[in-house]
Symmetry: none
Subunit: 239 residues, 2 copies
């Protein structure tokens, strides 16, 4: 069962809308608001929600955090700040793995108000803290950013969207792109002169396919030189 | 080395600022802008950047995408839309694992303009596509959301610092090896006749290098046919 999103005392309608948008992007649907500062409904929230408009319309309002949590089995408080609290901490991915592993439990992801974040006494009511990793020099994430990350980890955990993997290794260093661009120019010039692109309007898509297949090799500078040498060799014989 | 962020024709200064903010949150610092719509510097970008102000101040401007890419060894195009293009696709996590596994390569993460996203001819110049998983019902991520996710996966990957197997996926099937062998035979025949292998005892190692670089693209049957068609085209002109 997808987790419920609970926003505690959200301030800006725009941010509530941005959370709903992110929820919709990543397959979440149930939104609960605890004492939104500017009342409810909120026009700004609808405007910012984009594809998440329906989530805003169906959001439910609670006077206090405890009521919003009443039917929740497992609650995770989201924060980027380190908390001096004895509480289990999970990464976003770990938390989502735990949630997807539950079958019939009702779970919730909790976000605090924009300015202050979730209060320690509210974190206390949660089962664990989700700590979003950030750079120590600037750890301040806004509400919408946090919701995007949490939503993204949810869709990763809940879907099998990873495509079949294949091993790869770069045995030598791929050249700077300008080297490949030079090769492309040379090849196009030869092919033009050889009348390879018979049907003029097909030339762009043909060139696109050729570039796609050639760039996929991640050739080194040496390899690009070899390839251009081969082209030149074939070409010069033709004179 | 942390990847460079390249924004192609970004439109709103606010969005450039939001990208810089996310970069700063997740430990990225080098920002390149290709032909920003509203010119540069941009006051709105500075306002939105919050802790990423310095990134905005140090951003470099390029007239076209190819110049911004000139020194890049390995480039990833970010998109939420499915592209009908033969190009390796990686999840954000896979791509960041690959980037952290490189030691001295200059890597770049590319984002297209807000309205249209990155164009196919620009994706062609990249080595792979990063596909951000979204809900099929609402897959439209904005620029700031995408940058948050990519930055977040970067800090995860770079702090875990798992150097090991790099995983790939190919959307089309690499052809049976015999198809490549047929291509090799044709190429060797032409190169022999063009007197490409001037020093006889070097021919085996030269051929080996050529085959290594060509096979690395894991070309499909169609691509091998295209490549052989190009060779034939160049060759037949010489008659």
């Amino acid at each position: 069962m997808p987790p419920v999103i609970i926003l505690i005392r959200p301030q800006m309608g725009e941010n509530i809308g941005a959370v709903a948008r992110a929820m919709s992007n990543f397959g979440l649907s149930e939104l609960r608001l605890v004492a939104p500062r500017d009342g409810w409904p909120n026009e700004k929230a609808v405007e910012m929600a984009a594809g998440g408009k329906e989530i805003i319309e169906n959001a439910t309002i609670y006077a206090d955090f405890a009521s919003a949590m009443a039917d929740i089995n497992l609650a995770y408080a989201t924060t980027a700040r380190h908390r001096d609290m004895v509480k289990r901490t999970a990464s976003p991915a770990q938390a989502m793995a735990e949630i997807t592993a539950t079958q019939s439990l009702k779970t919730a992801l909790i976000f605090g108000p924009e300015r202050t974040g979730i209060e320690n006494y509210e974190i206390t009511l949660c089962d664990a803290i989700i700590n979003i990793p950030t750079d120590a020099k600037n750890s301040s994430l806004n509400l919408a950013q946090s919701a995007v990350i949490i939503g993204y980890e949810w869709i990763k955990a809940s879907s099998e969207c990873e495509v079949g993997a294949r091993e790869n290794s770069y045995e030598n260093l791929p050249a700077p792109k300008s080297d490949m661009f030079g090769l492309f120019d040379q090849l196009e010039d030869y092919l033009d002169k050889a009348d390879y692109f018979r049907v003029a309007h097909k030339k762009p898509i043909m060139l696109q396919n050729i570039k796609n297949m050639l760039i996929r090799g991640a050739w080194s500078e040496q390899e690009i030189r070899s390839f251009r040498g081969m082209l030149r060799s074939l070409w010069e014989r033709s004179k």
